[in-house]
């Protein structure tokens, strides 16, 4: 029998008992909706956390915190390590920075600002994607590049700090520095502590470039990027590594460790390379962190959670399957005489089995389709309504990107597959029973 005719039989049979079929489809749809909505909470929260994490990180970046020696202690990275890192396939750039171990003061005219001074390797920074908003890169020792937000925090030295900022923490408009900074001379004041006495040293610098705004909205770049020569001048003044104003215990040891870097970051050519390079760095005893690694852990946890939720949701479909089993068993019993006649005139038992399996699949498919539609509606309502209810009930502000429920394509595929598998399985026994119907008994209406 052709599939088209089998489907026609199914439609005809379904029409015979519309109410019973409708109720069975309803139960299946409810089960499917429950499964999808339940699991969608896992998907939604995962999506929120992943998005939140990705928003705060550059995904192709791997932070290298140090190298683990054989004795289990860590050492800072040196140029040899940088050379090794740069030699790895898939590495786009290796940026290395040192941070001045004190917060110097920068001033121009009456305006002043305390900002962190960073010694960066600009060729690798540019390679990694750092861009200038205006100006150029430093060519001479006293030339500097400033972060995008540095000019926005320059303020008059004569005004008290409590008067500088508005209620929302922003520097008041009338105190902001309005002039062009490129080409301006700026004084950098560093200090050294001789016992209790503070000695200062002024280094004249010239602003030649301003970096572009950081890609992440929440990031603030107020750094001042100074040259290695300026750092050496400060080190010469303080007599401590990286310009720490005070000589501290154990520093003699650190003094010997020249040419090390405080902050080393590896940038990969693409996202796919991150995992392989991370694993390679782990194998080579480098302590590294990448958002991809963190994502792996987050995803692993959520995979377990989602599997659990899907399992619980499947129970609802299993309950619905009892209804399908019951419906199909009744259908077989009611149609036993017809089945007997069909068998008598040559219908193959396999065909009869297939018709009943198609009928239970039909219930499953319609139930799954309705279930998916309703699940999307419920998911939308949950995402729209629940934050309002929670905020009203608990007077707490929820994060903007918080998603209680998300229904990706994979969840639909999984749920519909489970739904179909369960409905087909529940129709198996009644379908088998249909094939076992005794022709003579059926024709004598003894079943």
């Amino acid at each position: 029998m052709r599939l088209k005719d089998q489907l026609a039989f199914v439609r005809q049979n379904v029409k015979k008992n519309k109410v019973r079929t409708f109720m069975t489809i309803l139960a299946t749809a409810m089960g499917c909706t429950f499964l999808i909505v339940l699991a969608s909470i896992g998907y939604g929260l995962q999506q929120t956390i992943v998005e939140d994490t990705l928003e705060q990180q550059i995904v192709t970046k791997i932070d290298i915190h140090g190298y683990e020696k054989e004795d289990g202690r860590f050492r800072s990275l040196t140029m040899d390590d940088i050379d090794y890192l740069e030699s790895i396939d898939g590495v786009k750039a290796v940026t290395r920075r040192n941070h001045l171990q004190q917060i110097p003061t920068f001033s121009t005219g009456d305006y002043i600002e305390e900002a962190e001074a960073v010694i960066a390797h600009f060729p690798s920074e540019i390679k990694s994607g750092l861009k200038l908003k205006e100006g150029r890169l430093p060519k001479n020792a006293n030339e500097i590049v400033i972060g995008y937000h540095f000019p926005k925090h320059l303020h008059p030295d004569s005004i008290k700090e409590q008067d500088l900022y508005s209620k929302d923490g922003e520097l008041k408009e009338n105190y902001q520095y309005k002039e062009e900074l490129i080409g301006k001379s700026i004084k950098m004041t560093v200090k050294r502590l001789d016992g209790e006495k503070e000695v200062t040293h002024i280094i004249p610098l010239k602003v030649v470039g301003i970096l572009e705004k950081p890609t992440k909205e929440w990031m603030q770049d107020r750094n001042v990027y100074i040259s290695q020569e300026v750092l050496e001048e400060i080190v010469g003044f303080t007599g401590t590594p990286n310009g720490n104003p005070r000589q501290e215990e154990g520093m003699e040891e650190a003094n010997k460790a020249a040419d090390t870097f405080d902050e080393v970051k590896v940038y990969t050519t693409n996202l796919e390379a991150v995992k392989g390079i991370s694993d390679q760095l782990d194998d080579a005893n480098y302590a590294s962190y990448s958002v991809v690694k963190e994502m792996e852990q987050i995803n692993m946890l959520f995979t377990i959670a989602k599997a659990g939720l899907i399992l619980v949701g499947t129970i609802a479909i299993l309950i619905a399957s009892i209804g399908i089993y019951n419906t199909m068993t009744m259908a077989v019993t009611e149609r036993a005489p017809d089945i007997g006649i069909m068998k008598a005139i040559g219908a193959n038992p396999r065909t009869i089995k297939r018709i009943f399996l198609l009928e239970s699949s039909y219930i499953g498919v319609i139930g799954a389709v309705v279930g998916v539609i309703v699940a999307y509606a419920v998911s939308f309502l949950v995402n729209f309504g629940l934050p309002i209810i929670i905020e009203a009930a608990f007077t707490e502000q929820l994060p903007d990107n918080l998603k209680f429920s998300a229904i990706p394509g994979t969840l639909i595929v999984i749920s519909v597959s489970i739904c179909l598998a369960v409905t087909i399985l529940s129709g198996m026994r009644p379908a088998k029973r249909a094939t076992q119907i005794d022709v003579l008994k059926a024709m004598r209406r003894e079943i």
């Binding site: 015979k16 069909m342 040559g346």
Partner: protein, 230 residues
Amino acid sequence: MINVKQLSHSFTLGKKDPKTTLPVLKDISFNVKRGEIVSVIGKSGSGKSTLLNLISGFSQPTEGEIWIDGQQVTNFTEAEFADFRLSHLGFIFQSFQLIPSMTAYQNIELPLVSKGVNEYDRKQITIELLKKTGLINYQGHYPSELSGGQQQRVSIARALVLNPPIILADEPTGSLDSETEADLLQFIKQLNKERGITFLIITHDDAVAAIGNRTIAIKDGRLLEVGDAQ
């Protein structure tokens, strides 16, 4: 065409002791030639319907062999017999055995659907048979809306729809009045003559048996005689 060899059949009585059996057919042997009309006569309970059920494959014989069109059907699985029935056998039942939820058209078309014939051909064949059996104006009627004679004609049309070489008929006139009976017997004769269809007719009615070329009489499960219908 049909060759029955030393066929015996017993019914098992009850479920607790399967050894208790009731023999209904004992050592039956006969054959039906291609194009013959053979009537099997016997009183009620003689085993003639059981014989037809065994030949039809609706139940399995306890002993013996049945050969139809050169194939030993007693070895067939249920699925094999279903396919064999579809291609070789047509059935006419005393109680018509029409599906009540299907129209006359759909009932006649059913074997064609089972065989997987396409819709166009199905329509051609079914309409032709509806015309031939005088049911063209009743094609949309359900069995409950037809008289006994009309239902039997639907049943015959259904038996003929796949053009089988053999038709097995179990008391085909049992539910019909004498006038309709005569029409039906005439139709059977015509089919035998025109299409060369072999008929094996189970009946207790001598008038029905008389249309056959030969008669097989069964009494108490045993073959009593095989002879000319006359």
